[in-house]
């Protein structure tokens, strides 16, 4: 695994315009960065990332099954009691899922270590599935990269195939896509998914989360008063479960993407549960609930993460009784978990995180994020990669 400089494609910003990639620069700072790329060997990709990704996904499904049968665990995962049946039913019915992203600390040597599972609302999808694919194609075409350069990135192909399957599993329904207002990045991600769904032949619509309505019986509606029967929401389950319309969830006949059981996986309580069920697994970091910190005495440094958080918010480092806040944010009301410190590898001045994508249960590619800080946040730069 190497970080190598490369010249930018001339006029790539115009190419971004042509393909509708509007958030490559955010708030005056580069988000998409093609002044360098990461190079992996095929063995690194297949043995160190692809295999553990699929294995950990199966381990995560074991955690879901375990948690849903145990009320004490459901409380630890901060699932509101009134929604337990909603979440359980989606699991027992086998509601299909679309995608997720596992975040790893990986340096090229030794096992990749799981930081967390973005199983509910993963983003940076378009940049991965399409835009970095195009970057490789363009650079091979202009001979800046060798012809045999490959990329671990079958994301778009797998998404389209998965939408084909989902249509078969969800017959007779049109799919409504949704995200919050005022976030170009989320709208871009959802538009990409709509494009993939359309390619698979699914009739689809878009509505902002804030515009969703309900009728007298609690069915959800779009702005044309059409009843919503199948919905993709780029909006966290833990928010929806506590909001006003949350009371109608489960009583109206809606199929969800991601399905409600993903609330168990996009939850940092997953990490101590994985460590309990699969102790000493080479791809896991020792992790603990707040009331188990006596078991963590061997670790001089722990990372304290909120049960619910997004984009690296509210993270601290704990050394004994000393705690240092590394990132600010609006999260943490539900409590915290503790993970043994395992800093991101450094390439030059950059701390590098590998996001490993799954479509359903198949590993589908990676995305690389870089930051000058130890914590990867929403403004961390995105860099492309190759396999050579």
């Amino acid at each position: 695994m190497l970080r190598l400089p490369i010249s930018e494609r001339p006029h790539w910003q115009e190419r971004a315009q042509e393909f509708g990639f509007h958030f490559h620069t955010m708030y005056g700072k580069p988000y998409w960065d093609e002044t360098a790329y990461y190079q992996f060997s095929l063995e690194q990709i297949e043995k160190h990332i692809e295999e553990p990704t699929e294995e950990i996904h199966q381990m995560c499904l074991d955690v879901v099954a375990r948690v849903l049968e145990d009320e004490e665990l459901l409380r630890r995962f901060c699932i509101p009691e009134k929604h337990w049946d909603f979440v359980r039913t989606s699991w027992r019915n086998g509601d299909p899922c679309l995608y997720s992203r596992l975040d790893f600390a990986y340096s090229g040597q030794g096992p990749a270590k799981l930081y967390e599972n973005n199983a509910d609302t993963p983003t940076s999808l378009y940049e991965t599935g399409f835009w970095q694919w195009l970057w490789l194609q363009d650079n091979v075409d202009r001979r800046a990269l060798p012809l045999q350069a490959d990329q671990f990135n079958s994301l778009q192909e797998k998404l389209v195939n998965r939408f084909h399957d989902l249509q078969y599993l969800t017959p007779g329904r049109e799919l409504h896509f949704s995200c919050c207002k005022d976030t170009e990045e989320d709208r871009g991600t959802v538009q990409y998914l709509q494009d993939c769904a359309s390619e698979a032949g699914i009739s689809n619509h878009f509505i902002f989360v804030e515009d969703i309505g309900r009728d007298a019986t609690g069915q959800f509606t779009d702005l044309n008063d059409q009843v919503i029967t199948w919905m993709f929401k780029l909006y966290p389950w833990e928010f929806m479960l506590q909001e006003e319309f949350g009371e109608f969830l489960g009583s109206n006949n809606v199929r969800w993407l991601e399905p409600p059981w993903k609330a168990i996986l996009s939850n940092k309580a997953l990490l101590p549960m994985l460590w309990k069920l699969f102790p000493e697994h080479p791809n896991l970091l020792p992790s603990f609930f707040e009331d188990e910190l006596d078991k963590a005495a061997d670790f001089s440094e722990l990372v304290k993460k909120p049960i619910f958080s997004r984009e690296g918010g509210n993270i601290s480092v704990v050394r004994g009784t000393d705690s240092k806040l590394l990132s600010d944010g609006p999260y943490g009301q539900e409590g915290f978990i503790y993970q043994a410190m395992h800093p991101l590898p450094q390439f030059g001045k950059n701390y590098t995180l590998v996001g490993s994508w799954l479509v359903d249960d198949l590993a589908a590619g990676i995305s690389i994020r870089e930051d000058s800080n130890l914590i990867t946040q929403d403004m961390s730069r995105y860099l492309p990669h190759v396999i050579l």
Partner: protein, 204 residues
């Protein structure tokens, strides 16, 4: 190969301005031809007896088709909160179990040419049709989503495939804004990049 074998770049392009030609014109013509060839001839029947007389279905099949059409009408038919609104557009209306006013179904569609498979269980063909009586489309027959199939009283109609497909259910929205409050509260938090005034991603 560990990456997507092929991505159709033409599909991935987004329209950026009037001078950007998205697709060749020929595609529109081709699509129109496909549209014509997929047209289907249907009968519109108003009752079980009418169905037995005009179509290839037998009595039991007609009864099942009629019931299916009634269910579809209840599910997808136009809904009004006041009787007068409904009557202004469709004349005869009734109050549904949900309390809305809905037009009476004028009849339902049955394909003229049925193969053996369709005859046994033809799940999506029996869409209800309504006879519009307001001045704008007087005596036009239309499906629940407002697609006009022709004037009332013809022995058969040519319709596109989409007219035969089940319609999405519509209802009356009584409130909006019940989702999004948590994101809105958290976006008031001033850290990170939100100082620019635009909100953060709710993904991760």
């Amino acid at each position: 190969m560990k990456r997507s074998k092929n991505i159709d770049l033409a599909r991935m392009r987004k329209r950026v301005g009037a001078n950007f030609l998205l697709r060749p014109l020929a595609l529109g013509v081709a699509a129109a031809l496909v549209g014509c060839s997929s047209d289907e001839e249907v009968k519109v029947v108003s009752s079980v007896d009418d169905c037995v007389t005009k179509t290839q279905l037998d009595k039991a099949q007609c009864e099942a088709a009629y019931q299916r059409a009634l269910d579809e009408a209840e599910r997808t038919g136009p809904k009004y909160s006041r009787a007068a609104q409904c009557e202004a557009e469709f004349g005869s209306c009734h109050q549904s179990s949900g309390g809305f006013w809905m037009p009476l179904m004028t009849g339902f569609m049955v394909a003229s040419m049925l193969n053996d498979r369709d005859r046994g269980y033809y799940s999506s063909g029996y869409n209800p049709v309504y006879r519009y009586s307001g001045s704008r489309y007087r005596d036009r027959l239309m499906t629940a989503d407002g697609q006009v199939i022709g004037n009332y009283g013809r022995s058969s109609y040519k319709v596109g495939k989409s007219a035969m497909e089940p319609k999405p259910k519509v209802t009356k929205t009584v409130s909006r804004g019940g989702f999004g409050a948590v994101a809105s509260a958290k976006s008031n938090w001033g850290g990170g990049r939100s100082s620019s005034g635009s909100s953060r991603s709710w993904g991760g």
